[in-house]
């Protein structure tokens, strides 16, 4: 009542204040559209989870959950089918451990070199080079592993086949490197320069400063980097599938790295295409996918939590050092001793007490000797080792790229690029595969870009941090960590079967779109966040509405960032095999798809089949790999160029 009274009494001036009713409605409408795009991400995660559960649960009618998890035999096609996933997830764990043994030291060393040691000129080489590693499609890694790495292992260790745990770990290690390097480097670079100066001013060497102040300060970021690397390794399908031999056995003895091995992802990749829909085997595979998803969710959630702690610390919203790092610091000495003792016990138990003793002696020497070397010499040794590490990584990149380019170039000619394959791809070209990949990627980005950008706008511009945004962000993070093969299974079960779209272009496009959605959302968020608040305040203070402010003032300077995100997504989508394997592709098709419901050929899948199923197609294998790598790396280079160009030109 009182309010009404006030309104009636207000003089004419305020008539204008109340006239904005229709524009208010418009604002509300726009806001709700962005809200729905943001919620889409969360819903997708629940949807994926729900469909895996629905399709996975029926297996427990056949075997008990305990037997499913801990049964030692996986033989779904045998006379008496067995569905024990123990060898599979042990395989995943072992391959991942092996990968991290390789990737963790190399990755952290490279991050230190890039963040602390390299001159600006060297940094301009090292950083894009390590990022390039992320640009190589996993099927190309797999191809390289199959042709070169396994052969190398077979010859050098004198074993009948090189398709082993070791091969898988080496490949996965290389593939996990870019994640570990870039996240650790960010963490190290974020250490305040004051720490560095404070330490150096006390007369310490650079190495002492790096090892005693900088790396410990960046420890939680480096931990998160390692966990993300683990997530990457656990979720990888194609490369592992192609080099590990895929025997569902537990290595005997358990540390035998030359034993073949089979992972959860590999099982899905191999068996999904060959099982009858609705059979126990089919449901068992969804159970495997569920297990895989839960493992990666747990891994990625812990990384998110750790990174969140760091963010709170940097923005000053946390109090002092994080609880975790404080705890770690307090019990550092004890933790170290406990960890060493545990590892030695493990070795003594599984391998032999003698080996454990040797390790202990080497460890003691390593612990004792450095304190008796002059700091200056310590620094020389340490820096040399760091540079050796980055040299190893660059050499790996050069070998992979060089091998494929040298062998692939002879295959490339006009006919190869413009004609359809003949004789199962041994002859003829790859034109339909190129076009198919382009169709898939275009469709995927056309779907993911509006949804992703909308979600990011909602998250950054319309809400303060609250439970809902936290939920949405977590959803996006989880989506980001979901293995690509799980997207493939979801696409198959939901799009192909449930919606009855069949193996079709549209099913592949949607599946890929879901996969790249988190990348689009994250990069757009970054871009919007980097637009200063003063721009928004300036516009709002002139009486512009929120949407006017966003569309005219905030988005234009954020466009380069958004484009970079889009390009990165295109690159990722173009190189992926697992999500389209069961949803969109056929190996051979003489014709181009005439509608969205036709299946297509695609480069990564074509390469996969040529490399694994078609003997005598060597030339065309290399040719396809080269075309694929050129396409994806080319796309990434464009993204890097766009980013560096605008980083230089935008200063406010």
């Amino acid at each position: 009542m009182e309010n009404e009274h006030v309104v009636n009494d207000t003089p004419a001036v305020s008539a204008e204040l109340f006239s904005g009713r229709s524009s208010y409605l418009k604002e509300r409408f726009i806001r709700s559209v962005w809200f729905m795009t943001a919620v889409f991400g969360v819903l997708t995660v629940f949807f994926i989870l729900a469909f895996l559960v629905i399709d996975g649960i029926p297996i427990f009618a056949t075997v008990s959950p305990v037997e499913f998890l801990f049964g030692t035999t996986w033989n779904p096609t045998g006379a008496i089918p067995a569905y024990g996933t123990l060898p599979l997830w042990i395989g995943t764990v072992l391959v991942t451990i092996g990968a991290m043994v390789i990737a963790a030291p190399l990755g952290i060393a490279c991050a230190i070199v890039i963040a602390e040691l390299a001159s600006p000129r060297l940094k301009a080489v090292f950083k894009p080079a390590t990022e390039l590693l992320a640009g190589i499609p996993s099927v190309v890694y797999g191809f390289f592993g199959l042709i070169v790495l396994t052969d190398f292992i077979r010859v050098n260790f004198d074993i009948p086949t090189g398709e082993t745990w070791l091969a898988g770990s080496v490949l996965l290690g290389i593939m996990a490197l870019p994640t570990i390097i870039s996240v650790s480097e960010d963490a190290i670079s974020a250490v305040p320069k004051e720490y560095r100066e404070g330490s150096l001013a006390l007369g310490t060497t650079r190495w002492q400063t790096i090892s005693q102040v900088i790396v410990p300060s960046a420890l939680s970021g480096i931990t998160a980097a390692l966990i993300l690397g683990i997530g990457r390794a656990v979720g990888e399908t194609m490369a592992v599938l192609m080099v590990t031999g895929n025997a569902a056995i537990i290595p005997d003895p358990i540390y035998n790295v030359l034993s073949p091995i089979r992972t959860l992802t590999g099982t899905l990749g191999i068996e999904m295409g060959e099982t009858a829909i609705g059979s126990a085997h089919y449901h068992a595979l969804f159970g495997v996918a569920l297990l895989l998803l839960l493992i990666t969710l747990a891994v990625n959630l812990s990384a998110t939590v750790i990174l969140g702690h760091i963010h709170a610390k940097q923005t000053g919203s946390g109090k002092g050092p994080g609880r975790l790092s404080a705890l770690l610091a307090r019990y550092q000495q004890n933790l170290k001793i406990a960890a060493v003792a545990f590892i030695l016990l493990l070795v003594a138990f599984f391998v032999s007490p003698l080996v454990a003793l040797v390790f202990a002696l080497i460890g003691a020497a390593l612990w004792y000797i450095p304190s008796h070397i002059q700091p200056r010499h310590q620094q020389n040794i340490a820096f040399s080792l760091l540079y050796v590490a980055i040299a190893v990584v660059l050499a790996a990149l050069a070998i992979i790229l060089g091998y494929i380019v040298i062998n692939g170039l002879p295959a490339i000619n006009w006919e190869f690029l413009t004609t359809a394959p003949r004789a199962l791809g041994r002859e003829g070209g790859i034109f339909p595969a190129i076009i198919g990949t382009l169709y898939l990627v275009t469709g995927a980005i056309a779907i993911a870009l509006p949804i992703g950008v909308g979600a990011a706008i909602y998250l950054i511009e319309y809400t303060r941090e609250n439970i809902l945004t936290k939920l949405i962000r977590t959803g996006v993070d989880l989506l980001n960590g979901t293995p690509s093969i799980v997207f493939g299974l979801f696409g198959f079960s939901f799009l192909v079967l449930y919606l009855n779209l069949g193996i079709s272009l549209i099913a592949g496009q949607i599946t890929l779109a879901l996969m790249v959605l988190p990348t689009v959302i994250r990069t757009t968020e970054e871009a919007l966040r980097s637009v200063p608040t003063s721009f928004r305040e300036g516009s709002l203070a002139l009486g512009a509405t929120q949407w006017q402010t966003i569309s005219r003032v905030v988005i234009p300077p954020a466009i380069p960032g958004i484009i970079t995100g889009a390009i990165l997504s295109i690159g990722r989508a173009a190189g992926e095999t697992a999500p389209i394997m069961f949803t969109a592709v056929v190996f051979s098709s003489r014709y181009l798809p005439s509608s969205l419901s036709d299946p297509v050929m695609a480069l990564p899948y074509h390469l996969y089949i040529l490399a694994t199923n078609v003997p005598g197609a060597e030339t065309n294998q290399y040719g396809t790999a080269l075309v694929l790598i050129t396409m994806v790396v080319g796309i990434y280079l464009v993204a890097i160029a766009v980013r560096t160009h605008y980083q230089k030109s935008i200063r406010w």
Binding site: S119, P120, P192, E194, Y195, E197, G198, S199, L200, A201, L202, G203, T204, T205, Q208, Q212, V213, P216, S217, G320, P321, S325, A326, A329, R330, S371, P375, R376
Partner: protein, 253 residues
């Protein structure tokens, strides 16, 4: 005064890229005194300070000419290792920069890096340095707490204690009070007075009052040049140069 100089510079020129930041600076810093460098922002006083423990080496585009000697040896000569030099010539920065470690670890960091491992010795160093920095009574019960939880003034005194722990000869202070409130500033200033009995202190400050209060000698810098130097009382009461007079009477800067 010249006979007891710890550090002397002789016609120092310094460039950042093409930018000349110091022009022909000649000054000497007498032993066990406090010398302050004053001047308007950008006059090169911090740059000069950072030459004295070669912290400028860390800036790639930095080029230096002229002589700086430390107890008579050339500071930039081949025989000098900047790492060893910085042990002798410690530095306290504008903003307190304790490491994200415990108070104890902050103090013992330097000594341990220089090879002291004995726990007893380290504990002794911690107490001694904290006492000298007038912080012992405030933190003695929580040495294992994080240094980040201290107040700004306490953090700065911790940084001074950390510098004392490596037993330097000279202490450089780069506007050590500019991020602190008046009470914390007063504590640091009285601390400097005590440090003078054992160390040579060189301080860069924005506050002319501070320079007048704490220092024995004062150098006034302007546009990369040392305009005038001498006993503090003389500089403030009876400067030789017109420019100095204008600055200390507040006509510019």
């Amino acid at each position: 005064m010249d006979t007891s100089a710890v550090i002397e510079t002789q016609g120092v020129n310094l460039w950042y890229g093409d930018n000349q930041a110091l022009t022909n600076v000649t000054i000497s810093f007498p032993e066990k005194t406090i010398t302050s460098l004053i001047g308007p922002s950008g006059c090169g006083k911090s740059t000069l300070l950072r030459c004295l423990n070669r912290m400028n080496d860390l800036i790639p585009s930095c080029r230096i000419e002229g002589g700086i000697s430390y107890h008579g040896t050339d500071l930039y000569g081949p025989a000098i290792d900047p790492v060893h030099l910085r042990k002798q010539v410690g530095m306290v920065f504008q903003r307190p920069n304790p490491f994200p470690k415990s108070i104890y670890d902050n103090i013992t960091y330097g000594p341990r890096m220089h090879g002291i491992r004995d726990r007893k010795t380290l504990e002794q160093i911690v107490e001694e340095s904290l006492r000298k920095a007038a912080l012992w009574d405030e933190v003695k019960d929580r040495l294992s707490a994080s240094a980040m939880g201290l107040s700004g003034g306490q953090q700065q005194r911790l940084c001074i204690a950390r510098t004392l722990a490596v037993n330097p000869d000279v202490i450089l202070m780069d506007e050590p009070c500019s991020a602190l409130d008046p009470i914390a500033t007063a504590k640091i200033e009285s601390l400097m007075e005590e440090l003078k009995s054992q160390y040579t202190v060189i301080i860069v400050t924005h506050s002319m009052q501070q320079a007048a209060r704490v220092s024995d000698y004062t150098g006034f810098m302007y546009m990369g040049e040392l305009i005038e130097t001498g006993e503090t009382a003389k500089i403030f009461e009876n400067p030789e140069k017109e420019l100095t007079n204008n600055y200390i009477t507040g006509r510019f800067g």
